[in-house]
Amino acid sequence: MSAAIATEPLAGAPSGRPAGSRLFAAGAAAGHAAHLAAYGPVPRHGRDWSLAQELEASGLTGRGGAGFSAWRKFAAVDRARRPARYAGRAGRSVLIANGAEGEPLSFKDATLLHNAPHLVIDGLLAAAEALGAGSLFIYAGAARLPALAAALAERSDARHIALLEAPDAFVAGQSSAVVSFLETGRALPRDVAGRLADGGFQGRPTLVHNVETWAHIALVARYGAGWFRAEGTAEDPGTRLVSVTGDVPSEVVLEVPGGSRLDGVLASAGVAGDAVSAVLVGGYHGRWVRPSGVVLGGGGVPGGGPESGSVRPGAGVVHVLARGRCGLAATARMVEYLAGQSARQCGPCMFGLPALAGAMERLAAGRGGPELVREVGRLSGLVAGRGACHHPDGTVQLVGSALETFADDVRWHLAGQCQETGGAL
């Protein structure tokens, strides 16, 4: 499939229906009629058909960042709801479509909700039928809600889906924060020793998926696992949306098959390969890589070493750093932003991230010797794994990948020079 270019969320109609796109096949800002015309009605399945089995066979993984198996999360909620049902307690499961998209470099969820809201709704409804779910929610930023409300009002089968306004904060999209928001009105991650499947909202089995994951679930429910696997690779089947940003001709959302080469994705976005220094894949919690030979998705290149390996796409962020721009300075700005986004609940995150940001800032400015690199490593070790959510871990991953990918620049900076921008610091 050629990569399909979707429209900006609130821009007008696209120049044409993206050829071969799965998620945008109904066109820009598709209403229910256009949606049904493109995808057809939801088929009536026989008694031996099961959504759980189709999801397992499809190999669909979550598109919100963590990349867990969609089937495993589904099956965990399916198991957890059963004892409650037999005990006659109110244990009906809760399904949440998470479109909070707190990641500043991502706009694929906004694009999807704007153009294909009915796929997300179909995904929720298909799972609700399979799981006997009690409550259905779509959680998204304020700007997305009017169009979603209009989409829900267009159909008679979706009136029971409630909309939730997600706060505009980096950690607001963490699954446990979504559940806290439902219960307390504050989107703060919380300490989850157990899994949400075993007790999320009001202790009920709770399934939180990214909105794009729900859209793929809708398509698996319609067309089956075999169809889903017709795109992508055995290890990374199907397609995914990526947001391409940074030093690019124009920021776009692309739909690409799993296991796509990163340089191919950049070419589809109109980025010339030799103009690129490095690419941040997966967003502010992702990794910096040199794009050549790198594959986006699970699996990797057969026989490829770390240089030609695969990189986890996370929530599908591809952020381009052009030649002549300093990767250490770019990373220092991101870590500073991330430190400011700590929900300030957990000490090591609240104090450690600003300390880490300070060290990265000194490194970017070339103020310090080799001890600075050791200090970055030490602070990374102090915050990793020591928070209620993955915010510290994601930040540490970003920093670690910067030290690795920009190792030459680190040496130059410690000598008071920036090779990329070509000057004294």
């Binding site: 703060l188 000490g347 450690g352 794994g385």
Partner: protein, 82 residues
Amino acid sequence: MSVAGPAARLHIDWTMCDGRGLCTELLPEALTRDDWGYPLAAPGRVRARADASNVPLTGAELGAAVDAVKLCPLLALRITGP
């Protein structure tokens, strides 16, 4: 830590803990304090990131760990399975 692995783990709820360090006094072998006073698994005790909030305990430390759970003023501690 014995070859058989930890007897249990001490889970720290970072959203509650304010780092005043009562637990580190009760479990000096298992915990030290980080730059800001928050409990930190003693050097060499944790291998994976996930363990940093679930500090492995030996059988001999269980009694003191139970005390720490009871005495933590913010109810930030819990003993979990190995």
